[in-house]
């Protein structure tokens, strides 16, 4: 009899309850923080480096020009080079043909109309939720061994990083025994987000507080001034958005229901190929 390959299903328990709960709370927090953050940014859609705002020479500014070829246009100034970003950044046309100024379009801000005061109250409420949720996650991660067991790449994985990059580029993902743990790129991106980008959001956010700057003046020195901290806050947020896009993409291409189930119930299905006689 010829050997036949039989697919076997193995169900593993992948995500602990604390990880699952804090993950979804974090999804909500980051979504609200991003959208309300864009609302706050729209109050002064320009970025600077250093302590102060040099209004004549911003690093980045979203603005508008009154006399474009067909009326006003939205403009983004990136280190002195100007781009027409009508409809995306700086300003765009409403359904009724009316030109509206903004930094980011009001369709993606919270609330969806200009209100710095309301944007701030959403932002700071969810900033606290994010911090408390993050502390619970960090406490669990450090105490339960989640960090050592699941997140820290071992030497073998680090050595195989080039292979992992090649495999990802070819959309070849781990199966069987290897799929029971995170791959090396996954581990490194989680570590960067958890231990660098998210804490950086908090630290740069606090550096924008005149109260916290008085209590901890070294915050200003670490980030090179309040306006630099604001710019880093923006860059770091953009990197988190980039992470989320890649993260969601990987969830989609590696089995969306299996991945979603594992983050809701904890159970993750591994398909193994077993040779049987």
């Amino acid at each position: 009899m010829a050997h036949e390959k039989v697919m076997a299903r193995e169900v593993i328990y992948r995500h602990a309850g604390t990880v699952r709960l804090t993950h979804w709370i974090n999804v909500l927090c980051l979504l609200v923080l991003l959208m309300s953050g864009l609302q706050i940014f729209n109050a002064h859609p320009a970025l600077y480096f250093g302590s102060t705002s040099d209004f004549a020479d911003p690093a980045v500014a979203m603005t508008y020009e009154r006399d474009g070829p067909d009326g006003p246009i939205g403009v983004t100034d990136l280190f002195g080079t100007r781009f027409d970003t009508t409809g995306w950044l700086g300003g765009g046309y409403e359904a009724d043909g009316e030109f509206q100024r903004y930094g980011f379009p009001w369709s993606i801000t919270l609330p969806g109309f200009r209100s710095l005061a309301k944007g701030r109250s959403w932002h700071f409420f969810f900033a606290w939720a994010f911090v408390i949720n993050g502390l619970i996650y960090l406490g669990y991660t450090l105490l339960s061994g989640h960090l050592r067991r699941d997140l820290a790449p071992d030497r073998g994985q680090l050595k195989g990083i080039w292979q992992s990059i090649k495999d990802h580029a070819l959309f070849r993902f781990d199966h069987g025994e290897e799929a029971k743990r995170y791959n090396v790129l996954q581990k490194l991106s989680y570590l960067i987000v958890i231990f660098i980008l998210l804490p950086l959001m908090l630290a740069t956010g606090l550096t924008m507080s005149p109260g916290m700057d008085a209590a901890f003046p070294w915050l200003l020195d670490i980030f090179g001034g309040r306006q630099s901290a604001r710019t880093i806050h923006f860059i770091s947020a953009s990197l988190i958005v980039l992470f989320v896009l890649v993260h969601v993409f990987m969830v989609l291409v590696t089995g969306v229901w299996n991945n979603l189930r594992s983050m809701i119930t904890g159970r993750f299905v591994i398909k193994t190929e077993e040779a049987e006689g």
Binding site: S51, P111, G112, L116, S121, W122
Partner: protein, 259 residues
């Protein structure tokens, strides 16, 4: 492309647009809901409590060097009050201007600019952080608010210091639409809290609050009332105007503007 496909596509597009509108509309109606607003605002109580617990009277806002002073210090909010009483005072170079100090005090005061200038002064080069996100550095000179308050001798039940201003930022043409602000004692008696009459070595100009503005260096710009007319010590600001302790606070901004 068949008709059916087109209509299905347009159905999906419209469906997505409708769904998006409902979702965003949902967020926007949440934003307008008073209960949601109260819940969200509760975080402000936490922020204030934590900052108050961390900040000691000795924690000073950073003071900068002379060369750090911004060439273009943005003037925001009111930049040129057109109220009749203010215009009359400005016309005469504020010689007739008086700072009234009253409310819960033992001694009511009425001080001219010259009298304020004769008091001990403090000069500081500090960063001004606007709630909109920008910052500018300027040099301020004035008398410490604590000096004036001690002269007035606060009554024991006084808890807040309220600043009443000349500018009609609300454009209501009435007393109630004029700017006002309030601060609590940890800030009122802070070393860097001054009533400034000079900016960058010159007399305070009209765009920045002539003849007198307050500097509250550990809070955001809107706490630092310009065009001050009267200072009042009160036990509570619940019954003043909108009851939230300031012009912007009555319009949804947080009272403790520490972040």
């Amino acid at each position: 492309m068949s008709k059916k496909q087109v209509s299905r596509r347009s159905f999906l597009t419209r469906g997505a647009a409708l769904g998006g509108t409902l979702l965003l509309g949902g967020c926007d109606s949440l934003s307008r809901d008073p209960l949601v607003q109260r819940i969200l605002a509760s975080a402000e109580t936490l922020t204030e409590a934590v900052q108050r617990a961390i900040l000691t009277p000795n924690d000073l806002a950073r003071e900068y060097a002379h060369e750090d002073i911004s060439a273009d210090f943005k003037a925001n909010g009111s930049t040129n009050p057109r109220t009749p009483d203010y215009l009359a005072l400005a016309e005469n170079d504020f010689r007739d201007w008086r700072l009234e100090v009253g409310g819960l005090v033992q001694n009511e005061l009425s001080l001219s600019l010259d009298e304020l200038r004769a008091m001990p002064s403090r000069s500081q080069i500090t960063r001004h952080d606007c709630v909109e996100g920008w910052s500018c550095i300027g040099q301020w000179k004035g008398v410490q608010l604590s000096h004036v308050l001690n002269k007035a001798a606060l009554k024991p039940n006084a808890k807040y210091i309220v600043f009443y201003c000349y500018d009609d930022l609300g454009r209501g043409g009435s007393e109630d639409s004029r700017y006002y602000e309030s601060i609590a004692f940890p800030d009122a008696f802070h070393e860097q809290t001054i009533l400034a009459y000079e900016m960058n070595g010159e007399r305070l100009g009209i765009p920045h609050g002539a003849p007198l503005r307050v500097r509250v260096e550990r809070q955001l710009g809107y706490k630092m009332a310009k065009y001050i007319r009267r200072i009042e010590a009160v036990e509570s600001f619940d019954d003043i105007r909108g009851g939230h302790g300031g012009f912007w606070e009555d319009r949804g901004y947080t009272w403790y503007a520490g972040i």
